[in-house]
């Protein structure tokens, strides 16, 4: 028989344990929700058309014009009207008499220009089909502001994943092209460049702090590295824009210094703290008898470091490199300020380049419909990048555990 006091204690224990459990699951809930939002929005463009029906929108028409679409009288012009495939006739009155316009819709047509065709439209009108899947008939009105417009918007067909991943043209607004190859190459170019610059310097600095630096100097260097890690990325970007970009512009005589090289330099510096601290901690974790063994055989301090200590700390250092790669891929604002942001396949280290993350940051606030879904699709690509990195880190840690 449990005493009342005992029951009370058990209830309190039960409450706290489950509260803590609930809090621990918050990270699972967050990852699942993030995954759900990014993936559910990001896969849509590849599985179905951008909207379910073709619509026609009549601009600057008034109820008094007796507008009839397929014989049905229209009064409210704020909303768009759905159109099925096939022939449609639009009739309305003008001071000069009755005008009729035929619109033939063939939404499955391969050629976007043929999806909506106007026939026997008034002479004063002009067709604008610069935006794919959208045909706008401008009808000259009395004042420049008063031109009537008949705009037909046909749903964009499902987009192919290969065109998305390997298409070399990102032209979302008018040509509705969503190829992100330029951005993938931009991201790879910038991050690999940053690794080439940042990793050697980072590892060697880590070696100095862990192995060679006298105690007092190491005590100064560690906080310095922490401070470098603490500086916000925008400050790095700003510094790059103010110093690195003009320098590149002068040295290479370019129209503008914003380029992949500028992004590489900035990102290379930004990943230094990650590489340095991982190198230093894994070197310090190497037990002394490794070093003594090598020194006892007459090797110099430098030889000991490079042939024994670093090999022993190899997977820790590699994890640092992978973490640095992850940080470089994820960086956005600093890159936007210095990379030039043109969505093109970079042909040299000096060309202006745009990364995956910058595209999302630059266009998300105004993109809508399929364009915004495509930005979520870029989010998925970044997600996959990160999962691969995490797996690499896990394999490295497991390997570290072996010896």
């Amino acid at each position: 028989m449990q005493s009342a006091n005992h029951k009370r204690k058990n209830i309190i224990e039960w409450f706290w344990k489950n509260l803590f459990l609930l809090m621990a699951t918050v990270s699972i809930i967050s990852v699942v929700t993030i995954g759900f939002f990014v993936i559910s929005n990001g896969v849509k463009p590849f599985f179905g058309p951008s909207s379910d029906t073709t619509i026609v929108y009549l601009e600057k028409f008034k109820a008094t014009d007796q507008v009839r679409l397929d014989g049905e009288l229209l009064t409210d012009f704020k909303e768009a009207f759905p159109l099925t495939d096939g022939e449609h006739t639009l009739v309305y009155n003008t001071p000069q008499g009755e005008e009729t316009i035929n619109i033939t819709i063939d939404s499955q047509n391969e050629d976007p220009a043929q999806t909506a065709v106007f026939s026997d439209e008034p002479e004063s009108s002009k067709l604008d089909d610069s935006v794919k899947y959208t045909s706008i008939l401008d009808i000259k009105g009395e004042t420049p502001v008063g031109n009537r417009k008949v705009s037909v918007v046909v749903p964009e067909p499902a987009y192919s994943v290969t065109d998305f991943l390997f298409g070399s043209e990102w032209k979302p607004t008018a040509l509705k092209l969503y190829g992100i190859l330029p951005m993938i190459l931009g991201t790879l170019g910038v991050t690999i460049g940053a690794l080439i610059l940042g990793v050697p310097i980072g590892i060697l600095t880590g070696v100095y702090i862990a192995e060679l630096a006298p105690k007092r100097v190491a005590q100064f260097l560690r906080p310095a590295v922490e401070l470098l890690a603490g500086i916000p990325s925008v400050v790095f970007g700003f510094f790059g824009l103010m110093v690195i970009v003009p320098l590149i512009q002068q040295i290479f005589g370019l129209a503008s210094g914003t380029s992949m090289l500028a992004a590489i330099i900035i990102l290379g510096v930004m990943i230094l703290p990650t590489v340095i601290s991982m190198t230093e901690t894994s070197l310090r974790a190497v037990p002394n008898y490794y070093r003594e063994g090598s020194l006892a055989l007459g090797a110099t301090k430098i030889q000991t470091i490079f042939s024994v200590t670093i090999r022993a700390a190899r997977s820790g250092i590699l994890t640092g490199v992978v973490l640095g790669f992850g940080r470089a891929v994820g960086e956005t604002m600093a890159v936007i300020l210095v990379a030039g942001n043109s969505p093109q396949v970079p042909d040299s280290i000096l060309s202006s380049v745009r990364t995956l993350t910058s595209t999302v940051a630059l266009e998300m606030s105004y993109a809508s419909g399929r364009h915004s879904e495509m930005l979520y699709a870029i989010g998925i690509v970044l997600f996959i990048f990160i999962v691969l990195l995490n797996l690499a880190i896990m394999r490295l840690n497991k390997k570290a555990g072996d010896h």
Partner: protein, 253 residues
């Protein structure tokens, strides 16, 4: 069941996952006596001690069969209040582990956890416990100093003081003096002479001299089994089992 038995243990088995650490231990522990557990390191004496106040519950892989009764009640039954059990069966650890708090907070930690809030009452408990642990005179004017700032011997007596503050019936001691210098060890042993008047004491020690000096009953463990148990003088003068004799005369272990 002899009326003055505190613990009755019936063929107790204990497993760490697959490994069996204790094999069918059966013994009685008399009240107001000092019982010593001796045996080579790894023989299971500390593990057995920790089953008496269910400290082994902290380890997930531990599994227990058999029965341990305290005053006739099986302590591993489902509805036993573990915290109440540990209040009645205090424990002093090998390495002194005062909390990173003041000496005063250390001593009154237990009573406060039980819900005693009245400052005056806590002051009384603190003084009486520190006096009982022969530490009052050395710390009475620096009660707010951190417990960690005391010497090893003082820290161990502080731990004894905070155990006493819970008014336990039994005090378990897991090699209490192995981390202390000889002078501090002597002090703690004199303290135990006093304590055994009021409390049942069970002490694990790897020093046979200590067992001989302070204990009334001694139990000899080997490879997880209880080899022999009896009056301390009998065990040390004419042990019945050959293995006990080998251990006592220092042939092994």
């Amino acid at each position: 069941m002899a009326e003055n038995n505190k613990f009755e243990v019936e063929n107790l088995d204990l497993f760490y996952g697959e490994f069996q650490a204790l094999k069918s231990i059966t013994m009685d522990i008399e009240a107001n006596k000092v019982t010593a557990f001796i045996g080579p390191s790894g023989c299971g004496k500390s593990t057995f001690l920790r089953t008496l106040n269910r400290m082994n519950d902290l380890i997930d892989t531990v599994r227990i069969d058999g029965e341990i009764k305290l005053d006739g009640q099986d302590i591993y039954k489902k509805d036993v209040d573990v915290t109440d059990l540990r209040r009645r069966v205090g424990m002093v650890f090998q390495k002194p582990n005062p909390f990173p708090m003041s000496i005063y907070d250390n001593v009154v930690y237990g009573p406060r956890a039980q819900g005693i809030k009245d400052k005056k009452k806590l002051d009384e408990i603190a003084e009486s416990s520190l006096r009982a642990a022969a530490l009052w005179d050395e710390v009475k004017d620096k009660l707010n100093k951190s417990g960690l700032a005391l010497s090893g011997g003082q820290q161990q007596r502080l731990c004894i003081a905070r155990t006493i503050a819970m008014k336990p019936e039994i005090i378990l001691m897991d090699e209490p003096t192995s981390a202390l210098d000889p002078i501090a060890t002597l002090k703690v042993e004199q303290l135990m002479e006093e304590l055994k008047k009021e409390y049942t004491i069970v002490i694990v020690t790897h020093s046979m001299q200590q067992a001989a000096r302070i204990s009334d009953t001694t139990a000899f463990f080997l490879m997880g089994e209880l080899i022999e148990m009896g009056d301390t003088n009998d065990i040390f003068s004419n042990p019945k089992k050959q293995q006990t004799e080998d251990y006592i005369t220092g042939r092994f272990g």
